[in-house]
């Protein structure tokens, strides 16, 4: 089923295609059939990397069909719920092997969490940095449900020597690429909101989002929340591997744009930054009315968003936006703002969020060589004709 908007978009494409027969193949290049994922920006179809376009930032809960996908590797070629196993080993008294049915017997907990890829907004860094060129939408907000990781660790008999918890998924490694294995500290692993999630928004996880089970490390970058999880290992030390070092690290001190990262003066990326994005109007929108309605979302990782401000004059003045009533500890807030434009012409709309730690979204995000944690003030250019 198409939504009305998608119907109109595809209708438009079809009309163009029918009227301009010779461009059929060119038009066809602009649509890719990806089961279960509708209207997403395809940054890559292999490995699958899908970005949510700005217009879908309009709901507090992001439906699975619009939830972003970030893969470093190939997705598992086979996933069978009956034969799937999760092992728990390392610094535990009783190593465990659990089936999906075993997980379902445990107490279940739900966390509504804004999951954001560490590289979201990478495309906005200057100078450009390598990697998937995400703009706004490698982020989504969903309710994740499953047993608490700490209950699993307790069942396995966590030893006092266990200081870090490693996750390994079933994704398939091409060539000599290092496997996607990362770890989180024991304090975060035993937090009551860290889950081994089997559901998203009340339904089984989709394949692209980690079926049959994934880690859910709330408030942290998406890379911490291992998909297709099959192995949990408790370690005495932080896991040492490419995706912990040199990957997924931020400089301890701001770098001059273009400078390399000194890994010995860096730290692992963990919690998300304070950030807001404008969902509408979209960039280059032409308004036939002077009434400007701006809306979007804002999130702050482990902190709470306390304020979103909007500027309609390129950042010269800022006015508070109205925050949506739906909220949860790790979830984004919707926001909206309305005002009348003083006249016709070009306007630059901006949004910036402030969180409960007093962090304010900066006009310009700190540059780093991998483009992580971009949170510069969002902006959209519009033209008012009235």
């Amino acid at each position: 089923m198409f939504t009305r908007r998608e119907f109109l978009e595809y209708s438009s494409l079809a009309v163009t295609t029918a009227a301009l027969g010779p461009v059929l193949s060119r038009a066809a290049e602009n649509v890719i059939d990806i089961p279960g994922k509708e209207g997403m920006i395809v940054r890559s179809s292999r490995f699958l990397d899908l970005e949510m376009p700005p217009e879908y930032f309009n709901t507090w809960i992001t439906p699975a069909s619009h939830f972003f996908v970030r893969n470093h590797m190939h997705e598992p070629s086979t996933l069978d719920a009956d034969s799937w196993q999760l092992t728990i080993s390392g610094e535990v008294e009783k190593p465990l092997t659990l089936k999906l049915a075993d997980l379902k017997k445990l107490d279940s907990h739900s966390v509504t969490n804004t999951l954001e890829c560490a590289g979201n907004g990478r495309a906005f860094h200057s100078p450009h940095v390598p990697g998937v060129q995400w703009q706004k939408g490698a982020v989504g907000n969903a309710k994740f449900t499953g047993p608490r990781l700490r209950d699993l660790l307790q069942q396995a008999g966590l030893k006092p020597t266990g200081k870090h918890v490693m996750f390994h998924g079933l994704d398939e490694v091409p060539g000599k690429v290092p496997p996607f294995i990362r770890s989180i500290p024991i304090e975060k692993a035993t937090d009551g909101d860290t889950l081994i999630a089997t559901q998203m928004n009340g339904a089984a996880l989709s394949k692209h989002n980690g079926f049959p089970a994934r880690a859910l490390v709330p408030g942290w970058v998406g890379a911490a929340s291992c998909k297709w999880i099959t192995e949990i290992k408790v370690l005495e030390k932080e896991f040492e591997g490419n995706f912990m070092k040199p990957g997924y690290r931020m400089p301890n001190h701001p770098l001059k744009p273009g400078d390399p990262l000194n890994v010995d003066d860096s730290h692992v990326v963990t919690a998300l930054q304070v950030k807001s994005v404008i969902a509408g109007p979209t960039d280059n929108w032409v308004s036939k009315s002077r009434s400007i309605a701006v809306h979007g979302t804002a999130w702050a990782g482990e902190s709470d968003v306390v304020k979103v401000e909007v500027s309609t004059d390129s950042g010269a003045t800022w006015q508070p936006a109205q925050l949506g009533h739906e909220q949860a500890k790790y979830a984004w807030r919707l926001w909206s703002y309305k005002r009348k434009a003083p006249g016709s012409g070009d306007f630059t709309l901006m949004s910036r969020a402030t969180d409960s730690q007093g962090r304010v979204q900066p006009l310009k995000a700190d540059w780093n060589p991998s483009g992580y944690l971009y949170n510069g003030v969002d902006q959209v250019k519009i033209h008012v004709q009235a």
Binding site: E9, S11, I32, P35, V42, S45, P130, G175
Partner: protein, 109 residues
Amino acid sequence: MSKLKAPLSALAGFLVLALPVLRAQSPELPAAPIREKVNTACTECHESRIILQQRLSKGAWTKEVDKMIKWGAVVDAADRDAFIDYLSQNFPPDKAGEVMPRSAGSKRR
């Protein structure tokens, strides 16, 4: 939806249904003598769009090519510099951004 637009959309809807499923191929890399070798070495693991969306300096492309060789990309040592030249000439920092396709996902998961 205005009354005038409705019949047009209905016609367009018919055309949508009449069209075969639109499936995109990965776009071709820009033509050059080294293109086929780049294509073979890189798209063994990932599609061309990963390359097409990068906007990097020659220094940054050099790091990328060397990283990919370390990660298993099969590049003849004699071709390494030509790979770097090709990528940095075709995907430099000042080139306009790449427009990406949309997914037309069905309800299947």
